[in-house]
Amino acid sequence: MTGGVVLYAFCHGLSSSLIGAPLTGMEQDEILVQASRQGDLDGFNLLVDRYQGQVYNLALRVLHDHAAAEDATQETFVAAFRGLASYRGGSFRAWLMRIAVNRCHDELRRQRRRPAQSLDRPLGPEDQPPEVADPVAGPEDLALQRERGRALAGLLLDLPPDQRVAVVLSDVQGFSYEEIAAATGAGLGTVKSRLSRGRARLRDLLAGQGELFALPERPKAEGGAAGGGER
């Protein structure tokens, strides 16, 4: 175990035992980044373990191709390790996602230049790796969930890349507006606008999918508007 990891474990244990409050995710990231900057590859790989799922899923939803998403994920972490000096604090996740978003845009540009080799096609059943399913869902629910996931992933491709990235980061990955702004280099107003347009477009596309996305009838609220702000 190298110095950075020892430091991380030490800080985590110290804060837990003395203060009673474990380090937040951002604080842990900060310690691991400091260790990685000293060349501690094990420390950096703890960050890889933490974020590889998010980076891969972002790339997969944006690129819609497993091989391209895999390449983009690997390149993201290599670029992140090389570029740690340019990380100026704040959300490491957003900083990392910015690299991933740039890699995805590079790949989309490459696909546009070479349309013959475009990977912009719906993933077939053979392309689908095992997905984390709801353990309490029955077989029918699981099948429906899979089918919906496949259809929705395909429909995301109909969004312009900027809107697609914003929608995936917000609604699939759960990023805040501020994190999306940091991850995309856009202002908060632009993020809001991209989300609004992307969601509206996706809603129209879903409406054309027939029964697959038909939700059970909900009682119409008489006079009481359904409130927002729960997120």
């Binding site: 590859l41 790989n45 891969y56 997905e131 992933a153 929608v167 809001k192 509206a200």
Partner: protein
Amino acid sequence: MPPWPLKDTHRWVRRELSAYLDGRLEAAAARRMEAHLVGCARCREELESLRDTVAALAALPQTPAPRSFRLTPKDVERSKATPVWVGWLPALRLASAAATVLLLMVLGADALLYPPALPAPAAMGLAAQAPKEGITREAAQQVPPAVEGTPAPTLRDAAPGAGPAPAPVASQPGTPAVAPDRATDGGAGAPALRRIAMFLVALALMLLGATAGLTLARRVRGY
């Protein structure tokens, strides 16, 4: 709440529904939104369909990473081995684009300010139709000669360092009517622009060549 026309209110509501769903509206805007939603079944439906869309996205299953993306010392070494010039490529692309734009501007200015000379026979034929000829010649003719026999100023005289120029040939009977700026190489303006253009051609070609070469090398080597 300003008394907006209903059409504008609908438009505003639909634009802001997404932010309202995320709780990102200011308190006053949220109150206005709710007041509208209470009385507008259509906008309520829009809100619900948007909420369903967000819920469907949130329910998208996460795909586990197909493998570990942990970096090995070999990955790090390979990334360090990337040549320095790979980092120059964006700047090089920008520089070649800028040089090309500058070149086009200089060529455009050269063509506008110094139109090409007419072929001699045609120019002679047109000598009698002075008012219909090019701007340069017109301008030259419009300058009143200060003293009989002294050279009249031409456009190129405006260029610093230009020596005394011969009188416009069109004013001398029997002399071929050639635009004075192109007739001789003694002027400073056009040759200076041409020199700049030549320099920019060379620069743009050099930068474009370097960019193309390095991009190709990057593709081949897979950096």
